[in-house]
Symmetry: C2
Subunit: 364 residues, 2 copies
């Protein structure tokens, strides 16, 4: 197994023993957590993601912190138990399981979520390896990939051939830590909408271009990002991203996939996909392919202008600044399905092949 959980259990044990030892020495027990805020983040192009600057806060046991302190320790214990049984708990199930913690029970789920985030940051381990998961969509996959999972009933490996789903797809589970992969594909193509994903499946695109199609369904969930990351890392595959040509596609989808987000900086290490490159739709494509457009909304303009000023990723890349400036100058956005103006098959027969012929021109 790629992740038996023993490493995580060892971290939990260390943390608990640290607390225990201080108590035995009659010292106040402490836990150390990184500060999770944009101000504690920087973009490291070499590492490829937003990183924490390393500032920590120390939570010492006092009358004021006693409840959170107890909750954090109980959350560590719950994780250890889950790893032991092989079960995973959703964030919501964790909140309800904590109903039995007496005075340490949570008043609402956002309290238990915060403690879970703390534990994750404290151990530098993503939540999924602690056997906690979100109630979210993991994305869909079709293409030249065999996913190797485990049949819980028999413990045996089960091979999932993603070329054999007809018009359907493989739905990625919320926890992908133990999946393994076998593939001869040349690249991963991550697509914004299910509509475009199904278009490419219908056009036999993965077969003709030897690739793996992933439908992100808008901003990719953690599960979807982690899946792409693990797949791309373990199989040394390039990742190309195909979204609408608007600030949402460039920033909320692509930038989040590639380098992570500011307010979850303690996680970006696990969830970013540094090998991702942006295929389109770019503002240049609008001219090149004479695509129908829509005017930018005020919220689009604001998002783009903010990114030019404040987003460390955009500020790092002159080519992204130029693309966003061009979009603002033109005053329009473009949807990936606008390519259908030239016929449904145009995207698979003309647009993507032309783009893929010049990968060096992709935005970074």
């Amino acid at each position: 197994m790629p992740d038996s959980g023993s490493e995580v259990v060892a971290k939990i044990r260390d943390e608990a023993q640290g607390v225990y030892r201080r108590i035995q020495r009659k010292q106040k027990p402490q836990m150390k957590l990184p500060v999770r805020a944009l101000s504690n983040v920087r973009y490291r192009p070499k590492a490829g993601y937003f990183q924490l600057r390393g500032r920590n806060k120390v939570r010492t046991l006092t009358v004021g912190t006693v409840k959170t302190f107890a909750q954090t320790l109980k959350m560590l214990a719950m994780s250890k138990e889950l790893i032991g049984t092989g079960r995973h708990s959703t964030k919501r199930e964790a909140y309800y399981q904590a109903y039995n913690w007496g005075e340490a029970a949570f008043g609402a789920q956002d309290e238990s979520d915060t403690v879970m985030d703390d534990v994750e940051a404290m151990l530098s381990v993503n939540r999924e390896r602690l056997h906690f998961r979100a109630d979210e969509h993991g994305g869909e996959v079709a293409g030249e990939l065999v996913v190797i999972d485990r049949d819980r009933r028999t413990g045996r490996a089960v091979e999932i051939d993603c070329t054999r789903f007809g018009s359907g797809a493989y739905s990625v589970p919320t926890v992908v830590e133990e999946l393994r992969f076998r593939t001869k594909a040349k690249f991963v193509l991550a697509v914004e909408t299910k509509g475009m994903f199904e278009r490419l499946v219908e056009e036999d695109f993965f077969d003709r271009r030897h690739c793996i199609l992933v439908s992100m369904g808008g901003v990719p969930s953690r599960a979807c990002r982690r899946f792409i990351r693990r797949l791309a890392d373990s199989k040394k595959l390039p990742v190309y991203v195909f979204t609408d040509g608007d600030p949402y596609g460039y920033l909320n989808i692509y930038r989040t996939l590639k380098v992570g987000s500011g307010n979850a900086a303690h996680l970006n290490e696990f969830f970013c996909v540094p090998q991702a490159r942006f295929l389109g739709v770019t503002p240049d494509d609008i001219v090149e392919y004479q695509l129908p457009t829509h005017p930018l909304k005020e919220v689009d303009k604001k998002r783009a202008t903010d990114a030019m000023k404040n987003d460390p990723f955009i500020r790092h890349y002159r080519s992204w600044q130029k693309a966003i400036e061009k979009m603002l100058d033109m005053g329009v956005r473009v949807e990936q399905q606008a390519l259908a103006k030239h016929g449904l098959e145009f995207v698979a027969n003309t647009y993507l092949p032309q783009k893929l012929g010049n990968v060096e021109a992709f935005l970074p």
Copy 2:
């Protein structure tokens, strides 16, 4: 193939010939469409879904209707062409393809969506059979089911064994008209959240109870509803529904799945699941299983009170009225994951087996 499209093409041809004949007779061409509004709907318990009362509007070609009239005919032609090539077009792609219709091009996608709805209602054929599809999530499936789809490249049947996805699942495509099924399962269990779906997969529930699990992901999409309907019809399977115990679960999810919705009454015939029965979580379960609850919000109370007054489905069933009254009296809602208070395995080992031991007690 269960749906070769020839029946739909015949309907399109009939419609076009009707127009053509009137023109040849020097009459103004006409198209007849059912009125799509709540006021033209009734609940027919025997049929099992909201039905149109049969009022029609007639669209005659005049100076005022010429553009819509042309668009409707062009949309029929587009559908006929799609059926011919075997391709499907998303609603958005259809809008962009219509960019080339000259003066009949649409100003915005909601205009083309409306014309598509008209065509659907006019022919009494659901959009998917016209080879149009939405850009939506189709739900996920795991359990004792083999889905039989077609490999587009070879034209051969492809068998998808939904027991063999490990921790993942089969993602339902947006068009399910041509899928066939093989199963020995005893029932379909449609679940509100992906979190609960993954819980039941992790507990080997489909294996132990010989069933098919479907994750609806909130209010089920058309594709998800149509999938359950076709599966349940063709394999004569009962469908049990498991949602949160709140007005959203009872009305927006369960009622929509079972009988359809008011403003899409021309479609309910294809998308409703009349064989669905409501397993839980019921207000009675809160007491029976001592579940943690949350107070009803104002919006919950309003939705419940409105349904008691105006929803033909609720007004038809005394047992549903009693359940909703009880919920309003208690003033609380309950989430399906609240069962985790008694341990993660409680839902699979205790709650569902007890409920399934008394199917007659399910709400209708």
